[in-house]
């Protein structure tokens, strides 16, 4: 069977169970699905936040995720990959992103999911603005996100 890649950027929430089911439906060659979900925290650097607002670069965001998904498909024997990233206003406890990697065995699924998240963090054009009692401000990029992405290019 062919491997399915699904990429969506949307305002609406998503159902992780539904996304897992979509990767395993009507096939019996999937032995592992690894799911990473990113959730909005209620504080940032010890300060409470009321919400995050996510902005993205339409067109490029999809292209960047697709490029990294293609690379993951080439690097690991996957049966499917799904990335759903939300944009707009998101409050603490709500989903932000989900990455699912499906494979016959767990190792490829674990590695592909981690690779995709590391690359998304450092290279996909999304930006978070936080709302706190002090007002709104753009969240600064963390140096360790770029370091995490770069380790996948070492051989």
């Amino acid at each position: 069977m062919t491997a399915a890649v699904t990429i969506r950027i949307q305002q609406a929430d998503f159902d992780i169970g539904h996304e897992i089911a979509a990767l395993t439906k009507s096939r019996t060659d999937v032995g592992a699905v690894v799911t990473f979900s990113g959730i909005c925290r209620g504080s940032e650097n010890g300060e409470p936040i009321a919400a995050l607002t996510l902005e993205h670069y339409p067109g490029m965001a999809e292209a960047e995720i697709q490029r990294h998904a293609d690379e993951a498909m080439a690097r690991w024997p996957l049966t499917g990959l799904t990335v759903v990233h939300r944009v707009g206003r998101i409050t603490p406890g709500e989903n932000i992103v989900v990455v699912l990697a499906a494979s016959q065995h767990r190792q490829a699924a674990f590695q592909a999911a981690e690779f995709l998240m590391d690359y998304l963090k450092a290279n996909a054009p999304f930006w978070k603005r936080e709302e706190s009692p002090k007002g709104t401000s753009w969240i600064e990029a963390r140096g360790h996100d770029e370091t995490a992405a770069k380790r996948w290019t070492k051989s």
Partner: protein, 83 residues
Amino acid sequence: MKVKYFAWVRERIGVAEETVEPPASVRTVDDLIGWLSARGDTYAYAFETPRVIRAAIDHTHVKPDAVISGAREIAFFPPMTGG
């Protein structure tokens, strides 16, 4: 060419996108940042620390020395914070 701005770069400049026609002497992304910075205070503020600005040409990340000739769309934005 079309130029797009995102996140605080967009907020500082005050527009999300515009069409610009820089002179032929503006060859690279870095040159374009310099040329845009001279357009006014809002641009100078947005580009006050050029090393933190990221750029993309036609939806692909590029470095400051990338040549801009032939580009349809150039975007400027801060380091990304998605995921």
